[in-house]
């Protein structure tokens, strides 16, 4: 303790010296710069360069695979008769690209009632590059990170509370189209709300953020990021929930229940009726052994 006091006192003697200010400034700069360099993956200058490089690569991919419908600068194309060929992409953001390309909806196979999902055509890096290019056109929602949509790291109780909250948000905003278990439902003219149970949490988050096709956009002002995370937590809990009542009959509600009542229930009872009537009081299975 004495040693410390003595060295502090010795240092303190120079505190009003001519170079003290300069030294402190250099120490401060070195410390903050060093800390920043230690904890930040890349410098902001490098990142901007990376983004620009990725966007440039993304533009190459875009010109080959997307520009045919969306225009060479993502400005969108309209046919002479006013029919929209591909919408303008300025401002849709990286999240929209990651959703559309990441679920294989884009590039589209053919126009129709609804763009169907399929196996993605691009690798994850290529999707990032495309997203970077489209994001460079105008500011828009970014691709969410795992922390945005995952409840990892929360306590069990907090997780369960998130699921309960998410369930109520889900029933208010999502079930009208996606059905009460997320099985999906019909939309006008051949469209449909897709099944949510086999959709990646990231893509669910992006869909809420960007509102693809007939879906509404649930902006962060409407449904906060925490609420979005809770909805995803509820959907994930539905995936792992045991079938308490037995076989779920496709989770389609009373239509499939009615079908089972008629075919399985009534069908088997009528079969039993036939069986009972076939075994008459005087019937002997072996002919000629009647007493």
């Amino acid at each position: 303790m004495r040693l410390l006091n003595r060295s502090a006192g010795r240092l303190s003697r120079h505190r009003r010296g001519p170079i003290a200010g300069l030294v402190m400034l250099l120490v401060g700069l070195a410390l903050s710069g060093g800390l920043y360099a230690t904890f930040s993956p890349s410098s902001s200058a490098d990142e901007a360069q990376d983004q620009a490089a990725m966007a440039a690569k993304g533009r190459q991919l875009f010109l080959v695979s997307c520009a045919f419908c969306h225009g060479q600068n993502g400005e969108g194309l309209t046919a002479k008769d006013g029919q929209l060929i591909g919408p303008a992409l300025a401002g849709v953001g990286a999240a929209a690209v990651d959703f559309q390309v990441g679920t294989g909806r884009m590039p589209m196979v053919q126009p129709g009632a609804q763009v169907q999902k399929k196996r993605p055509n691009f690798s994850e890096t290529e999707i990032e590059q495309l997203a970077a290019y489209v994001a460079s056109l105008a500011p828009g929602p970014a691709i969410p990170t795992r922390e945005d949509y995952s409840t990892d790291g929360m306590s069990d109780q907090a997780k369960q509370e998130a699921i309960v909250r998410g369930g109520q948000i889900f029933l208010t905003n999502c079930t009208a189209c996606h059905n009460f278990t997320g099985e999906g439902g019909a939309m006008p003219r051949g469209g449909f709300a897709p099944k949510l149970l086999d959709t990646d949490p990231k893509h669910i988050y992006e869909a809420m953020l960007t509102g693809p096709q007939s879906m509404d956009t649930f902006s962060n002002g409407n449904i906060t990021p925490e609420m979005k995370r809770d909805v995803i937590a509820y959907i994930e809990s539905m995936k792992t929930q045991p079938g308490y009542g037995g076989f779920g009959l496709g989770n389609l509600g009373p239509v499939s229940e009615g079908l089972f009542a008629w075919i399985v229930g009534l069908g088997s009872l009528v079969a039993f009726a036939v069986w009972i009537a076939a075994h008459s009081a005087r019937t002997n299975k072996k002919k000629g052994t009647a007493k």
């Binding site: 369960q160 509370e161 699921i163 309960v164 369930g167 109520q168 029933l171 208010t172 079930t175 009208a176 189209c177 996606h178 059905n179 009460f180 278990t181 099985e183 999906g184 439902g185 019909a186 939309m187 006008p188 003219r189 051949g190 449909f192 709300a193 809990s237 539905m238 929930q241 079938g243 308490y244 009542g245 037995g246 076989f247 779920g248 009959l249 989770n251 389609l252 509600g253 009373p254 239509v255 499939s256 229940e257 009615g258 079908l259 089972f260 009542a261 008629w262 399985v264 229930g265 009534l266 009872l269 009528v270 039993f272 009726a273 036939v274 009972i276 009537a277 076939a278 008459s280 009081a281």
Partner: protein
């Protein structure tokens, strides 16, 4: 016949004395002396019932009703018919802490905290589905075989009342849990009632005790569901069965079976065993379904909240057809003197089902008015031998089925990847065209089957044995059908035999509506062969059987 008196004398050496009664006999005698059961039992325990699988369809409905009573009593022990707000703290994690009605909370309690509760709940629901569907196929059997003819018209009316009451009973039960699905159903029902012109709003206010949802509807539906309708159902079921005993069961035509007798087995022991066994089978099927197949997973729907709705919100299947009619109805609406007339709701959900039900209920009277037949009928008609009736019932079924399909239009669209709009447009047409096509096809089909009957009767059945004659020609051997089969086929009226007197032409020379309908009813019927034709054919067939096979003639058989 002479009697061998020596043996009688040898075996009857002492006077008959009453031996000490067995224990069962003693109990029987004790109760008979006090209740007089023997006389009643002697008659009723030996009551004869004919044997056929299709006579047991009504039994499925009866036994599902018993399952419903048993499981229903179990559910009432825990269910709280109250719309008071409570916060759920039960075993189901995903709703813990959510505010809901006590009705819904107690349904969750039954499903997750009461031992065997979910099984009993699911059994109750499956049994309800079976109850209504069994009533329906039983009704179809009765209609297709003409069993509703005199003297059983009133029992038909009771039956059709049971069907509509069973449907309402099912709907009230479906509404009780107060989850999102059932609440949506109650909301829809409130709208249906409001669509009744003039009085709709008042009826809704009366039933709900004010504006929807209020806090009275669940307790009121509960009273209707567990007391009012089951009471009426029980009484009507009893009346239905008493009339069945009084009329005696109808039977199929066959050797020894006449309009004046019943050929079959006695109640005890044969039918007591068969029917008792069938109860356990019905109970078993309901239990298996309740144990293995999830039905109405209320916990997934969450509590009812008028701001929420879910895709795939449908009523149970028996309410599916008015729902389907509602889905495909164009949005017609009129405004008179400041009041709105919602044809788009009133016609499909109130008017159409009520008129359809009324038509079904008066079916025996309608048919009787057309034919003018005043005889009693205890022998069943094969559906082909009343082509117009059979065709009419099939066209009613088609009418029902098209609405039924429309009720699931969204599920059909998603499962078959088609456009819900196109399904709706197609069904708007099919609901009218379908029954007409079905009527025509069924009627011609029945007539073709009658023709086939005559062919089999006169020329025998196709034995499947192909003979090659000495000349090298090929022919199939036809063999005569058994006498009992021939008898069953020929027990039917010839032409308008049994029909009443025609009205005759009106003053302006035109036929009355009744005469026109009667002409349609009997027209194109293929008559059974006369005795002479039959004898001649038999002689020919016997001859042919001895080697002279028929030449194969393009499927005409002769």
């Amino acid at each position: 016949m002479s009697v061998d008196t020596s043996k009688v004398a040898a075996s009857n050496t002492s006077a008959a004395t009453a031996s000490k009664p067995t224990k069962v006999g003693a109990i029987a005698a004790w109760s008979d002396e006090r209740l007089g059961l023997a006389a009643m039992g002697k008659k009723n325990l030996r009551k004869i019932f004919p044997d056929h699988w299709s006579f047991m369809l009504g039994e499925i409905a009866l036994w599902s009703f018993v399952v419903l009573l048993i499981t229903g009593v179990f559910l009432t022990l825990w269910f709280q018919p109250s719309m008071a707000e409570t916060t759920y703290q039960g075993a189901y994690p995903n709703l813990r802490g959510v505010s809901m009605s006590q009705a819904y909370a107690s349904t969750l309690h039954i499903s997750f905290d009461v031992r065997g509760g979910l099984l009993l709940r699911q059994m109750h629901h499956w049994a309800a589905m079976l109850f209504v569907s069994a009533m329906m196929i039983h009704m179809l059997r009765v209609a297709f075989t003409g069993a509703y003819r005199k003297p059983r018209e009133l029992n038909w009316v009771i039956g059709s009342t049971l069907l509509i009451l069973g449907t309402i009973e099912g709907f009230t039960g479906y509404s009780l849990p107060d989850d999102l699905l059932s609440g949506t159903g109650v909301r829809a029902a409130a709208g249906f009632m409001q669509a009744i012109p003039i009085v709709g709003t008042y009826i809704t206010f009366f039933l709900f005790g004010g504006e929807f949802p209020g806090d009275s509807i669940i307790p009121r539906l509960y009273t209707i569901h567990v007391l009012l309708i089951p009471g009426i159902l029980l009484g009507l079921v009893a009346a239905h069965m008493l009339l069945l005993v009084y009329h005696k069961h109808t039977q199929w035509a066959g050797p020894g079976r006449k309009e004046t007798n019943v050929v079959g087995y006695p109640m005890l022991p044969v039918y007591a065993a068969k029917a008792g066994g069938f109860f356990f089978i019905t109970f078993g099927v309901a239990a298996l379904m309740g144990a293995l197949l999830s039905i109405n997973a209320v916990w997934k729907f969450g509590p009812y909240d008028p701001t929420k709705v879910t895709a795939g919100a449908q009523p149970d299947w028996y309410m599916g057809w008015p729902d389907g009619a509602l889905r495909i109805m164009p949005g017609w609406e009129s405004h008179f003197w400041g009041s709105t007339w919602s044809w788009n709701i009133f016609i499909p959900v109130i008017l159409m089902p009520m008129l359809s039900w009324l038509l079904v209920t008066i079916l025996p009277f309608l048919e009787n008015w057309i034919t003018g037949d005043q005889r009693e009928h205890h022998l069943l008609q094969r559906p082909r031998n009343a082509p117009t009736r059979t065709a009419f019932i099939v066209s009613l079924m088609t009418w029902y089925a098209m609405f039924w399909l429309a009720g699931g239009n969204d599920i059909i669209a998603t499962q078959l990847h088609s456009s819900i709009n196109n399904i709706t447009y197609a069904l708007r047409v099919l609901v009218f065209v379908g029954p007409a096509i079905a009527f025509f096809i069924t009627r011609r089909w029945c007539i073709a089957l009658q023709r086939h009957d005559n062919e089999v009767l006169l020329h025998g059945y196709e034995s499947g044995v192909i003979m090659r004659s000495a000349q090298g020609g090929y022919a199939e051997i036809h063999k005569p059908i058994s006498e009992s089969k021939a008898y069953a086929i020929t027990v039917r009226d010839r032409g308008t035999e049994g029909a009443g007197l025609a009205d005759g032409p009106k003053a302006n020379g035109k036929l009355t509506l009744r005469d026109k309908l009667r002409t349609l009813y009997y027209e194109d019927d293929v008559q059974k062969p006369t005795v002479d034709e039959y004898d001649e054919a038999q002689a020919h067939l016997a001859h042919a059987d001895h080697g002279d096979a028929h030449e194969l003639e393009g499927g005409h058989g002769h």
